[in-house]
């Protein structure tokens, strides 16, 4: 008999019966713990009104404030992952994938679409970190390639919002080759003189940093985002020392010359639009239908 027996009726819900917390009314900042209403938080573009912490949000949220009136046409919405390697670790990849689709309501870790940004036609791709860590497999690579094809065809600027842990292990070398695929597409975009804006958000690491995220005509970061090639844990293990404060943040990358500037979410659209106005000849854009 254990010492601690629950005599009074307390919490009796079994762990497996617990439900995911439903959409609440309050948001508690992960950094400063200050509470605000979910409504206010969304109005503030999911940035803490107290400390300015930029919460991780998905493509849906980015599209809502980057496209004019949040209106856009999605590209390749239905594309989903195959399992070419029949990959299995502790779990089958197909099972993991299906469970994630069900949980997130998304089809993979990137959403792509076209619409207007301050009246200018643009193509935007944004990543969904809650989909297997925003990892890049065949679908992410292919959807980005197709989005760039659209940008090429209609001479529209391309904006990529990265948020990813890197390549998706469960598609192994197929994932690796997406680095080459997306970079080759960007090379074509570059040769066509079409602007490419890379937005790096928290976190952007691994194969995504080693390909499209670092290849923008301008690379811009959200404040405080973790950006790097190797993850902090791996580096710590390699050098056997604690990492300096602020290592691999946007501010660190700006200081070392890998970002053009850091932009708060509320200013992101205006800044990108201002840049595009100066470099992109709108008359070259063709209407897409």
């Amino acid at each position: 008999m254990g010492w601690f027996v629950r005599n009074k009726e307390g919490i009796t819900t079994k762990t497996e019966d617990k439900k995911e917390t439903p959409e609440g009314l309050w948001y508690k900042c992960k950094k400063c713990k200050v509470i605000s209403s979910v409504e206010d938080h969304a109005e503030n573009l999911w940035v803490c009104h107290n400390c300015g912490f930029h919460e991780r949000v998905n493509a849906k949220e980015y599209f809502s404030f980057l496209f004019d009136e949040g209106k856009f046409t999605e590209l390749n919405a239905k594309m989903t992952s195959a399992d070419p390697l029949k990959f299995e670790d502790k779990k089958k990849y197909t099972e993991r994938y299906q469970a994630t689709v069900k949980k997130t309501g998304l089809n993979d870790a990137v959403t792509t679409g076209y619409g207007k940004m301050e009246g200018r036609d643009v193509v935007i791709a944004a990543m969904n970190f809650n989909f297997i860590g925003g990892s890049m497999g065949s679908v992410v690579g292919e959807k980005i390639a197709k989005a760039i094809d659209h940008a090429l065809k209609y001479h529209k600027p391309f904006i990529m919002v990265s948020k990813s842990g890197g390549a998706r292990m469960m598609e192994a070398a197929f994932s690796l080759m997406q680095l080459a695929k997306t970079s080759a597409k960007l090379a074509q975009l570059g040769d066509a003189g079409i602007p490419y804006v890379s937005v790096l958000t928290d976190p952007t690491t691994g194969g995504v940093t080693a390909s499209y995220a670092m290849l923008g005509d301008i690379n811009i970061g959200e404040p405080g985002a973790l950006i790097g090639f190797a993850g902090p844990r791996v580096i710590k293990e390699t050098i056997g020392k604690d990492l300096p404060e602020g290592f691999q943040t946007s501010e660190f990358l700006l200081e070392h010359g890998f970002l053009d500037f850091i932009v708060e979410r509320k200013d992101m659209k205006a800044k990108i639009a201002a840049f595009l106005k100066m470099v992109h000849n709108e008359d070259k854009s063709k209407a897409s239908k």
Binding site: P84, S138, A172, A173, A184, A187, A213, L215
Partner: protein, 316 residues
């Protein structure tokens, strides 16, 4: 010579042959027949073992301590007609990435590759074949030079990964690799990439975008090493063999998945058992491929190269 665990039977027979020879010398007993039988047995044992290697065994062979490394290939294949070039013109000279002009038969070629060390001291000097950003930038500088003089680029890939260090991050490891991939996809001269040992992830792809990507028989190429994959997905270092299988990282699997263009046979037992033979095989393969690629016009070469990588990936 070091032997891997699955090569033990070979070592045993070799020891027996050695002993028989010794005995013959000491006691004047004619052992010729025994030795001949043992040698026959050796050959069939070898054939059997190397015919059925699993993924993890290939990984072990790719890291065999006696396996030849990049500079040994270049020196041998160019017959010493090699001018090594140094530095990225920005920060320093990365010892883990080597390159320079060499004569491959009658062909002037730009060679680039990661270099591992042959002993403890050299391994440190070469940073275990893990390049820093300046290594990738040096590689790009050399590729651009090859483009300028319209000569083919040959890259020899052998790395456990790009170096994950503090300074590497400060100097933009991700950007350096990304830039190389971008530039290689549109470099206006033929590129042939050969995995001669380990092809680990972005560190390999950073010099791995080419018109022909080939793998030696006993090498691996994937998005992560089997050990790291095991530690992340199984949360333990003990599943490296399963991880090696699951990643489909052998030359055979990579070709089957159309992620590489061809496999180059190694001498029986692996490149380290007959380095000279290996150098000869690779030299001939390279010359053959250069010959082919030189016939393709540049404005067709690049779309073809890009198109190949654009096709990679399987979706529903």
């Amino acid at each position: 010579m070091d032997y891997l665990d699955f090569e033990e039977p070979i070592k045993e027979i070799l020891d027996q042959i050695e002993k028989a020879k010794e005995l013959e010398g000491e006691s004047q007993v004619n052992m010729a027949k025994t030795i001949k039988e043992l040698e026959k047995k050796l050959e069939s044992t070898r054939k059997n073992i190397y015919k059925n290697l699993n993924a993890w065994q290939r990984v072990q062979l790719s890291r065999h301590p006696q396996r030849p490394y990049t500079l040994a290939y270049i020196e041998a294949m160019t017959d010493g007609q090699f001018i090594e070039l140094h530095g990225d013109r920005n920060v320093k000279d990365d010892k883990a990435m080597v390159g320079g002009w060499g004569m491959l038969g009658d062909e002037p070629v730009m060679f680039i590759g990661q270099q591992k060390g042959v002993n403890t001291k050299m391994r440190q000097y070469r940073n275990f074949g893990m390049a820093n950003p300046e290594g990738y930038r040096k590689a790009l500088r050399l590729m651009k030079m090859a483009e300028k003089f319209n000569r083919p680029v040959v890259t020899l890939i052998d790395t456990p990964g790009a170096f994950p260090g503090l300074e590497a991050e400060e100097r933009g490891q991700g950007e350096a690799i990304a830039r190389n991939i971008y530039e290689m996809s549109k470099l206006k001269t033929p590129i042939i990439c050969v995995i001669i040992g380990e092809g680990a992830s972005g560190g390999a792809l950073g010099i791995g975008v080419g018109d022909k990507v080939l793998m030696l028989e006993n090498t691996w190429y994937s998005v992560i090493s089997p050990e790291s994959c095991s530690s992340i997905l199984w949360r333990s270092w003990d599943y490296k063999e399963q991880a090696a299988e699951a990643l489909k990282l052998t030359a055979e699997d990579m070709l089957k998945n159309k992620l590489i263009d061809g496999i180059i046979k190694e001498p029986l037992g692996g490149a380290h058992t007959d380095p000279k033979g290996m150098f000869e095989i690779l030299k001939n393969e390279l010359l053959k491929n250069i010959e082919q690629l030189k016939k393709v016009e540049t404005d067709k070469l690049i779309p073809k190269r890009m198109g190949k990588f654009e096709k990679m990936g399987v979706t529903n």
